[in-house]
């Protein structure tokens, strides 16, 4: 399933060219299978497989041990790390033949009856966010701890340097590994421990219907440590299973027993305790479809479950945490039905080309196992999707004309083995390459070829905010500074490439895939496939990182088309290269700005112009063009202001949403100029910011008066002691070092939470079930950031019942109302507010039912709801109440949409109801002779209004900082050149310094419990703080990002030459 195979130029010749055209040779072109016997997690297994099949494939597809993740298939990300003979290796680089007779340990083998000390430490520290890299990290760290139970930080980093994580910023991982020894000392409780409902789950199973693989059978019972049915390859056998019963639908009465908890509980050696019960009851248990409930893990791990009414502000272990450390979590590629057709996407090797197909039928019919080829002409609906309907312009499959490298042109669907062995070098397509332009400077020239005929000048759209008279203000300013900054394409580089499967459930198309926006997926998929929206059901899996790119549909319409047309399930996991070339990026920006101050150092005016390379299709380009002008002032009072943002089409990768929607780029422009202004004024750089920052009562550049909740001053002031300490340390270091210089830098952020002046409601449904659970339809997709936990905490306190009573249902569009997209730092604020309202409404309903006052306290005891008021107590036997179709006896639903006002032609209005604020201090050291930067520390003060879950807030901050570090120092995506994770560099565990988080809580009157969003805020100040610190250390400002050693060195040399 590789785009690479779609490039004729890259095709390798067949070794047996003479026979490769015969159909017999075609299926047999692969390698003869051999029986390979080895041990996995102490269990002897035997598979029949081609000897060069990757061990990762053997584990996942043949043995269905899906805890081992595949992130790159090239040894670049380490997600597939397993132990062979006790040594960590990348399973994607190990031929099956090499494990014959060997012992293999996967993440499923770590929890030997109870969580390992390391797994417990990961949960305790919040070291897993999305969880996709967690198995690899756990396995690599297990090898380290086996030989060194008390590793130093450096030893930990050395051992884990080969595993990339994009969410956490690594600091909590380091802490967990170094702390694991402490958990090892704690005795396990054993099964005698009470089992209070832990309120934890993985919510991603709702409605998902899957076939039980043959591997684990009923004979895998207590004491039976041999896999009963070492079926050679369930996937290769996909043609033969009877497709009766539910027909093509991958269905079964039981849930997916291959999910690792069942291995952990039933198969992998711990079946002799607690009757072989797994820690995690699977869906279909008494909890009802779509719910999972964890028993208390045996390890003495304090889940930190708060008492009733104390959930907000507590840091319970994330409610969906346990499957993330056991390997049990199911991401987009982890639940493919055994009989699914595999789908291969043929993609453009050119930035710009027209194309025509040859005889597709002849090509596919000559290949046994290939079921069909689909092109744009097969698309039944409107072949045009996009996240912002008026700008929708992207075909699911190109119609004779491709506008960027990696654009999909055709789908090949076939049996899994046939697709795996398919070389599409001879795919019948004729390309006619056309001239392309990849840079803004080429695309917006007069006469430049248009990417879209209806968009003159290749201008997608522009946004403007104007206030006062900026020219007059700058002319009258005591000082002005002017600068220009250019940034690069930045790739999201989540470790989970897009993956999912689709199947028909009657006349409803079901798409089971990773996503950030299920309802948007539903609507775009329905549109492309010509289905009514109610005939498309999106079942989100766990999502292994998103950061904005998984807001847009990727494979949903593609696998949907195959399922719709063939009637068979269709499955697809993007390769790393395919993910990188075909999905969205952060917009490259070319920005100019001038800022003026009066003699006292107060900002008087600012003019900003930013051009954003939006690539071939619209995606979120309009959002960037509009968000940037609103935010380019930074959180500073700027009375006279003009900012224009333009989104310009090129034939580059599609630029879309990436944590901050252009604001991180614009902030680099503004914050680096602020340092220059402070220098001109001979003011302290931090105090200059304190002087100018927005305060309660300030008006923003859109004329919005901020009456309260403005926390930027508090953030900057919180940095003062750190700034003084860091400055003194840098000065002392620099006094005695010539070739290395230290510098410190500061930068701020503000960011409006939710859509810009557009509705973005969230709806939350919550109820009490007849069996005494609080059932929360948690529609805010958790891509690792923690909404499963945070939304529940908010709802719990609004309702007045303890967190542990909650059971979550997922954002499945068939069962859960729309809580909007996970984007724009809106979930804690908007969905949180809806959860608060729904929780209060449910409470009201119960109180009314019981005819008690608002002072009453609620309590759930089994199936009894206790309502206490003073000395009186009313007992409600829930089992006696009439239940709704989904089993709820009390039910509330609430919707919240932030109150905003439209922006007028000058960008004046109230674009956001809530803003969050932050400021970060970067300390670093520059090697002047090599241009390398060593980060020493980041101190981050963020005003989150109210930290609903402080540990999760810290995790967001550390992770955002890591992405800011990458953007500042190393990340530059170049189409055709960096389509992998060794040429495209993201920070490793050795690249993120210690982070000190200062939580500032200036409550916002609009947010739930005062909370503000923070997901994007946390990334914004990092890059400018680093650039300012580099300038402080070296005297040079890097104006072209990333600030690679090469660029820093060149700037230093240039400065020396000027002397």
């Amino acid at each position: 399933m590789s785009e690479a195979r779609s490039f004729p130029g890259e095709a390798r010749p067949n070794a047996n060219g003479a026979t490769s055209d015969t159909s017999a040779a075609r299926l047999g072109a692969g390698m003869q299978a051999a029986d390979i016997a080895f041990q996995v997690n102490g269990i002897p297994v035997s598979v029949s497989a081609p000897p060069l099949r990757r061990l990762s494939t053997i584990l996942r597809d043949d043995l269905r041990l899906i805890g081992t993740k595949v992130g790159c298939d090239a040894g670049d990300c380490g997600a597939c790390t397993v132990l062979v003979g006790g040594n960590p290796v990348c399973a994607c680089l190990v031929p099956a033949a090499s494990v014959a007779g060997a012992t293999v340990t996967t993440v499923e083998g770590l929890a030997n009856g109870s969580l390992s000390a390391l797994q417990a430490a990961f949960l305790h520290h919040g070291a897993a966010q999305c969880g996709i890299c967690t198995p690899g990290l756990l396995v690599a760290a297990t090898a380290l701890l086996a030989r060194n139970p008390r590793p130093t930080e450096m030893e930990t980093q050395d051992a884990l340097g080969g595993v990339l994580c994009r969410c956490t910023g690594y600091r909590k991982i380091i802490a967990a590994v170094m702390d694991a020894g402490r958990f090892a000392e704690q005795p396990s409780h054993g099964s005698a421990a009470p089992h209070p409902p832990a309120g934890t789950f993985s919510p991603y199973s709702d409605g998902e219907k899957e076939e039980a693989p043959a591997l684990v059978t009923a004979s895998s019972q207590q004491g039976d440590r041999v896999w009963a049915s070492p079926t050679p390859s369930p996937l290769r056998g996909a043609t033969s299973p009877p497709s009766g019963g539910r027909g093509k639908e991958p269905s079964s009465a039981s849930a997916h027993p291959s999910s690792p908890p069942s291995f952990g509980g039933e198969v992998v050696g711990n079946a002799d305790r607690s009757g072989g019960r797994a820690h995690i009851r699977l869906p279909g248990s008494s909890q009802g479809e779509g719910q999972r409930q964890l028993d208390q893990p045996d390890r003495a791990l304090d889940l930190r479950m708060p008492a009733s009414g104390n959930a907000v502000g507590a840091s319970p272990v994330r409610l969906d945490g346990i499957p993330k450390v056991t390997g049990g979590e199911r991401f987009g590629g982890d639940s493919f039905p055994a009989d699914a057709l595999a789908v291969l996407v043929v993609r453009s090797p050119f930035h710009h080309a027209t194309f025509a197909f040859g005889d597709l039928d002849a090509w596919s019919s000559a290949k046994p196992g290939i079921v069909a080829v689909f092109t744009a002409s097969d698309i039944p609906g409107r072949n045009c999707f996009g996240v912002i309907a008026p700008f929708a312009d992207q075909p699911a499959l190109a119609e004779g004309h491709v506008r960027f490298r990696g654009e999909a042109v055709a789908l090949v669907a076939g049996e899994r083995a046939a697709i795996a062995d398919l070389d599409v070098a001879d795919f019948p397509i004729r390309w006619n390459e056309l001239p392309h332009h990849l840079q803004i400077g080429e695309a917006d020239l007069a006469g430049a070829a248009l990417v879209h005929d209806n968009r003159p000048g290749n201008l997608l759209t522009k946004g403007l905010v104007e206030r006062g008279d900026p020219e007059a203000a700058l002319a009258a300013a005591a000082h002005t500074v002017t600068g220009a900054i250019e940034t690069s394409y930045v790739e999201h580089a989540y470790i989970e490439p897009e993956a999912g499967h689709a199947y028909m459930d009657g006349d409803t198309l079901v798409v089971v895939a990773c996503t950030q926006a299920p309802y948007m997926d539903r609507d775009d998929t329905a549109k492309v496939l010509g289905l009514p929206v109610e005939k498309v059901r999106i079942v989100p899996t766990a999502t292994g990182g998103g950061f904005g790119s998984k807001l847009d549909v990727s494979l949903q319409p593609l696998i949907g088309l195959v399922a719709l047309k063939t009637g068979r399930p269709a499955a697809l996991a993007y390769t790393r290269a395919e993910s990188m070339m075909s999905t969205t990026k952060r917009h490259p920006a070319q920005m100019k700005a001038t800022i003026g101050v009066d003699a006292d150092g107060r900002i008087t005016g600012m003019v900003f112009a930013g051009d954003f390379n939006t690539g071939a299709y619209a995606s979120w380009g309009p959002t960037v063009a509009n968000r940037v002008p609103v935010h380019a002032s930074g959180p500073y009072a700027t009375p006279n202001y003009r900012a224009e943002g333009r989104a310009i089409h090129t034939h580059g990768p599609i630029s879309g949403a990436f944590r901050g929607f252009g604001v991180p780029q614009a902030t680099i422009m503004q914050e680096t100029l602020y340092d220059e202004l402070a220098d001109v004024l001979d003011m302290d750089r931090l105090e200059f910011r304190v002087l100018n920052c927005l305060r309660d009562g300030s008006e923003t550049v859109t004329g919005q008066r901020l009456d309260s909740g403005v926390g930027i001053g508090a953030c900057l002031e919180a940095l003062r002691p750190h700034w003084a300490r860091a400055g003194a340390e840098a000065e002392a270091f620099n006094a005695v070092n010539a070739d290395r210089k230290r510098g410190i830098g500061v930068a701020s952020c503000w960011y409006g939470c939710g859509n810009t002046s557009l509705p973005n409601p969230s709806t939350i449904k919550v109820g009490i079930s007849a069996n005494g659970d609080v059932v929360l339809h948690q529609g805010a997709i958790d891509i690792g950031q923690g909404s499963n936990t945070v939304i529940t905490q908010i709802c719990a306190d609004a309702l007045g019942l303890p967190l542990e009573k909650f059971r979550l249902r997922s954002a499945d569009t068939a069962i859960t109302p729309d809580a909007g997209k996970t984007s724009a730092s809106r979930q804690t604020f908007v969905t949180g507010k809806a959860a608060e309202k729904a929780g209060r409404a449910l409470r009201e309903a119960i109180l009314r039912f019981a005819n008690v006052s608002g002072e009453a306290r609620l309590e759930l005891q089994g199936t009894t709801l206790l309502i206490r008021e003073g000395e009186a107590a009313r007992r409600v036997d829930l089992a006696t109440l009439e239940a709704s179709a989904d089993g709820l006896v009390f039910l509330a639903e609430a919707t919240y949409d932030p109150p905003t006002l439209p922006l007028d032609a000058k960008g004046q209005g109230k674009p956001y109801a809530v803003y969050g604020y932050g400021a970060q201090l970067a300390e670093l050291e520059v090697d002047l002779r090599l241009g390398t930067v060593k980060l020493l520390k980041i101190t981050a003060a963020h005003d989150v209004g109210k930290a609903i879950n402080p540990v999760l807030v810290e995790g967001q901050i550390e992770g955002g900082i890591a992405q800011g570090i990458g953007m500042a120092l190393m990340e530059e995506y170049i189409p055709g050149r960096t389509e992998n994770l060794h040429d495209y560099l993201i920070p490793t565990i050795g690249d993120v310094p210690p982070v000190e988080t200062i939580l500032v809580e200036v409550p916002d009157p609009e947010g739930p419990f005062g909370a503000k969003g923070l997901g994007e805020h946390v990334l914004i100040p990092t890059a400018p703080a680093i650039l300012n610190a580099i300038r402080h250390a070296t005297g040079v400002l890097i104006t072209r990002l990333p600030a690679t050693p090469s660029r820093i060195h060149a700037a230093i040399r240039e400065k020396e030459a000027r002397r």
């Binding site: 070794a15 040894g75 380490g78 680089l93 080969g162 070389d423 490793t988």
Partner: protein, 283 residues
């Protein structure tokens, strides 16, 4: 149907190689990434069954590194201090996961300009033992790696060992690798240096640079400038003044040509200083 063979003796492997073209699979850390998700279409000899090629041994005259020896095995094997340069390089190859299976010979055969093993082994005057069913030949490493992804390996041959003459196993050595991040680095530039200092004077110097030319190269002029010089701070001056005409760096996403040239010189100075002082310095 393509062929797959996993011989258990070198002679068996060589007999197969004589029959026709095969692709050799060892650690797999380059083969699989190059393959991507395309199906294999070459006949493959999997040499992971050749126990005789795994490990490090010695003769009167040479240290022998078997072709299947992994980086981890080499790093853990007790060896003279002169080998530090190779061990330090080994610790920088990809990640621990890569080092555990990736082989030193494979690193040479892959012939990447950024191969970590090449400059380090050049600094040890290593040669490469190539065997076919009919002959055994030994090529100095610099004659084995011919260009980008190009070696002197003939279709009927395989590398069976890397040999380091004991005469070159003298002195102290250091390896420095420069990248834009801490781990999983493909180098912008890297330097290996080995110095033999007797009575305070450099009597032997071996300096090699990688990632700054199609094939990593020794720097004879730098070595000449160091030879006979007192092992003090003046070594750095000598490096800074010496010609490095062997380098022909390219500009790419990792750095400009000019940067590579400057950085290589700086790294050489630091590596020489480290080798002279016996300590490690940061790149």
């Amino acid at each position: 149907m393509i062929r797959y063979a996993k011989p258990t003796t070198v002679d068996e492997a060589l007999a197969l190689l004589r029959e026709g073209p095969w692709r050799i699979l060892a650690g797999g850390t380059d083969v699989y990434p190059a393959q991507g998700s395309r199906p294999f279409r070459d006949d493959i000899i999997d040499i992971n069954g050749l126990a005789e090629l795994d490990g490090i041994g010695e003769t009167e005259t040479h240290w022998l590194i078997g072709a299947r020896t992994s980086w981890t095995s080499l790093v853990r094997h007790p060896l003279p201090a002169a080998f530090d340069v190779v061990k330090q390089a080994g610790r920088e190859v990809g990640s621990a996961q890569i080092q555990n299976v990736g082989t030193i010979a494979g690193n040479l055969c892959n012939a990447s300009p950024a191969a970590d093993g090449v400059p380090a082994l050049l600094a040890l005057d290593a040669d490469v033992e190539l065997r076919s069913a009919v002959t055994t030949r030994r090529l100095p490493l610099r004659e084995f790696v011919l260009g980008v992804r190009r070696t002197a390996l003939r279709p009927d041959e395989m590398v069976t060992a890397i040999r380091v003459p004991k005469g070159a196993c003298r002195g102290a050595s250091a390896f420095l690798k420069l990248g834009a991040r801490r781990y999983l680095v493909i180098s912008i530039a890297m330097v290996a240096a080995r110095l033999v200092v007797e009575r305070g004077v450099v009597v032997e110097a071996a300096v090699a640079v990688g990632s700054c030319s199609a094939v990593a190269t020794r720097l004879p002029a730098v070595e000449g400038a160091l030879h006979g010089r007192e092992a003090d701070a003046s070594l750095v001056d000598a490096v800074m003044a010496a010609p490095m005409d062997e380098l022909s760096p390219i500009a790419d996403v990792r750095g400009s040509a000019g940067y590579r040239r400057d950085a290589a010189r700086e790294l050489v100075a630091r590596a020489v200083r480290a080798a002279a002082g016996g300590g490690r310095v940061a790149a």
